[in-house]
């Protein structure tokens, strides 16, 4: 599972870049950990600060091990900077974890119950996965903003990430405009590879969403099972108490104990279900959204190129008209404009080819990563299932002699 050999013949014609990328095997010696969530401040201005620890042997970092304190909006700020720099040229920038106003408010208000600790843990794990994915990207790793995020002790507060800020509203408007534009662009796809890949990702997205919904239901029901088992354990204990027959009474209280332990097991399994399986799926659903975004950028790039070509044509027509009308100063202006637009067309073509090339590489890398990720998580998840069942067996086998001893 570790070695990435070129896989068996595939249906799609894979580009040279894709194969190259897969065979390279990204080897990065850098590990990121997010830990120690700490509540800083009070009331509605409170926030959680996380410790980001980096362990690396890469030479571009001044130290081999260091840590800083960051808050959630810092992560969002990092993502928005990276996205603005790299998304439109075709790099798949991993998306940051989502905001949650409800969850955060509960934590701010200071409720120390299990749901807010769960929320913080969920967020911590998500932030860790986000950073891990980001640093594993060879291009993003070189980015100075990322290094600043990991290294410098003080970071300027990223205000533009707030949902209700001016920038936030601008973002929302832009997103809506993009959606409308997408529907109106009709691209002449010269490369079948892109069409196939887009279709593939579309299907994958749908399937993952369905699976994710089912897994969420599974997690919910397992938690219910755990709660019900705990309640039953209590009544079994009470029943054992009121029983007069000593052996039966003892057996019942033993049963209550076993059920309690089983309840713990169910809880742990529910966590495993969630953190391994369910979160993996939701991460990939968001990643695929980013991939789709990259494809959309390519379309926009093509549109720009196309527009430049049309404008160039128009300018040439204007020039021709001026030639006929014989207005020397206008002719000069037209010629200038033509030169300008010729350059733009060339630039557009170059941009388009560049973005296509980058996307091919990125998709190759993404797919390889995806296969690896899924395999690792599936194996871990199966191991957790096996462990739970083995524990269950042990508990029940320990109970058996008690039950036999009743008579």
């Amino acid at each position: 599972m570790e070695s990435k050999s070129i896989s068996a013949p595939v249906i799609f014609d894979r580009s040279r870049e894709e194969i190259e990328e897969e065979a390279n095997g990204d080897v990065f010696d850098i590990e990121i950990g997010v830990s120690d969530p700490e509540k800083v401040g009070d009331g509605m201005n409170a926030y959680m600060a996380y410790r980001v620890t980096t362990k690396t042997s890469l030479s571009m970092f001044s130290k081999s091990e260091f840590s800083v304190k960051r808050r959630f909006s810092d992560f969002l700020g990092l993502h928005s900077k990276l996205a603005s720099k790299y998304l439109h040229v075709g790099y798949i920038v991993p998306p940051a974890p989502e905001k949650s106003i409800v969850g955060m408010t509960k934590v701010k208000v200071g409720k120390e119950d299990s749901s807010s600790t769960e929320f913080v843990e969920k967020r911590r794990a998500a932030l860790e996965r986000y950073l891990q994915r980001t640093v594993k990207h060879p291009t993003l790793l070189q980015d100075p903003d990322l290094r600043q995020f990991l290294e410098s002790s003080e970071l300027p507060r990223a205000v533009n990430t707030q949902a209700l800020s001016g920038a936030g509203i601008l973002r929302m408007v832009n997103k809506a405009a993009d959606a409308v534009n997408k529907m109106t662009i009709k691209m002449n796809e010269s490369d079948a590879w892109f069409e196939e890949k887009q279709q593939q990702f579309e299907n994958l997205d749908q399937q993952l969403r369905k699976l994710h919904a089912s897994v969420e239901a599974l997690v919910c029901h397992r938690k219910e099972l755990s709660a019900n088992t705990a309640a039953f354990a209590k009544s079994a204990a009470m029943l054992g108490n009121s029983e007069d027959h000593t052996a039966l009474s003892r057996a019942l209280s033993q049963l209550a104990e076993v059920e309690e332990k089983i309840d713990q097991l169910h809880q742990e399994q529910a966590f495993a279900d969630f953190y391994m399986f369910s979160e993996l799926l939701s991460d990939y659903i968001r990643l695929i959204a980013a991939v789709k975004g990259v494809f959309d950028h390519r379309m926009k790039c093509w549109q720009k190129w196309e527009d430049a070509q049309i404008t160039l044509l128009k300018k040439r027509e204007t020039e021709a008209k001026m030639m006929v009308a014989n207005k020397p100063d206008k002719i000069q202006q037209a010629k200038n404009e033509i030169r300008e637009w010729e350059a733009k067309v060339q630039q557009g073509e170059r941009d388009f080819e560049q973005i296509s090339k980058t996307i091919r590489k990125e998709v190759g890398r993404f797919e390889a990563k995806r296969v690896k990720d899924f395999k690792t998580v599936i194996i871990k998840y199966l191991e957790s299932l096996v462990q739970t069942q083995q524990q269950l067996i042990k508990y029940w086998e320990a109970f058996l002699p008690e039950a036999k001893a009743i008579a």
């Binding site: 699976l211 099972l225 009544s235 007069d244 109970f399």
Partner: protein, 440 residues
Amino acid sequence: MEGRQEAGKENKPSSISVDPQGDSSLQVEISDAVSERDKVKFTVQTKSCLPHFAQTEFSVVRQHEEFIWLHDAYVENEEYAGLIIPPAPPRPDFEASREKLQKLGEGDSSITREEFAKMKQELEAEYLAIFKKTVAMHEVFLQRLAAHPTLRRDHNFFVFLEYGQDLSVRGKNRKELLGGFLRNIVKSADEALITSMSGLKEVDDFFEHERTFLLEYHTRIRDACLRADRVMQSHKCLADDYIPISAALSSLGTQEVNQLKTSFFKLAELFERLRKLEGRVASDEDLKLSDMLRYYMRDSQAAKDLLYRRLRALADYENANKALDKARTRNREVRTAESNQQLCCRRFERLSDSAKQGKPHGSATPATGQPTLPGSPLLPPPPQSSWISSPAVCPPSVRTSSSWQSWSSNTLRPAPSFSGTPLSRSRGSLRAATACSGDF
């Protein structure tokens, strides 16, 4: 204690069995059951060499309402007031299952055909399980009646078993249901009143002890039963959850082109197998744990009913005494008061006796006081009846998981306070202890 355990040990149930002590002169079983629309028709088959019956083997078709009629007939019969009447079987209830089937039928179009088929299969299995359970419970009811030396001789019972035609017992209409409901309320209110009445002292420690034990036990077992049900439900939900997961995984597998293809397919297979296992565990839990708890819950309710009847008799007796005193002071209607009082006293004594006989719990403490009231005749020796330990409730399902099997076959031994034949050596002391309430 040991004797009781020995008596219990004789029954090593692996399926429904009638206690061998109840002789084989009357064997009842439900040989067949058919579910039609709303009703379930049970075929009750009897094998008997008793002289009352015209043939040695015969069967009739009965419906649930007729079982209820039989049970009510026993309850209302004054002669059996001192016995614990086996609880009536619950109504066959396929509502929940039917609703789910309906919902599945209407269901959303996003589920694949395989998913739909699997879910339908699950629901059908559930329906079948409920059906089997209800048949088993009806059968156990009849078998307990047949095994009980007194109850089996009831005329209504014979009619139930033998009368070839429809007993034309209609289901209770709304008024009767309401009446029954109100009667229950009145009964529990009455019970509460009697127990809290300051003047009424429980004269027998034995019954006092029984009473407190039973009350506590009944509430706790009812709790345990409810919660076990909920555990079973969650387990079932969990098993059903695996169906869409498995389907989604296999569709992911079909569209993958890389190494993940086989992984997804294998995972889908795994979840499918997991589902069947979890479903089996859930139904095992249901049949063994929940059902057993439910059985004893209803039994303890029946025992409570007996205690209530006795208490009611005691209250009546006290009232009769008071009336007698009043009549004596006024020197009027002494005769009627006297005979009334004698009636109450006799009833009370009879109930106490047979109740006590039925449950030799702990050491029988000799009651205080002796029959001292003038005119009250000495009681005849208490009847031989006692409630024999009942057969275990194990619906005839295949049980292969060994730990569950041994657990259930061992803990289905009923709690001693309801079980066992009275110890022969204590019978003498019991006779001495059959006192009607002493000091007034």
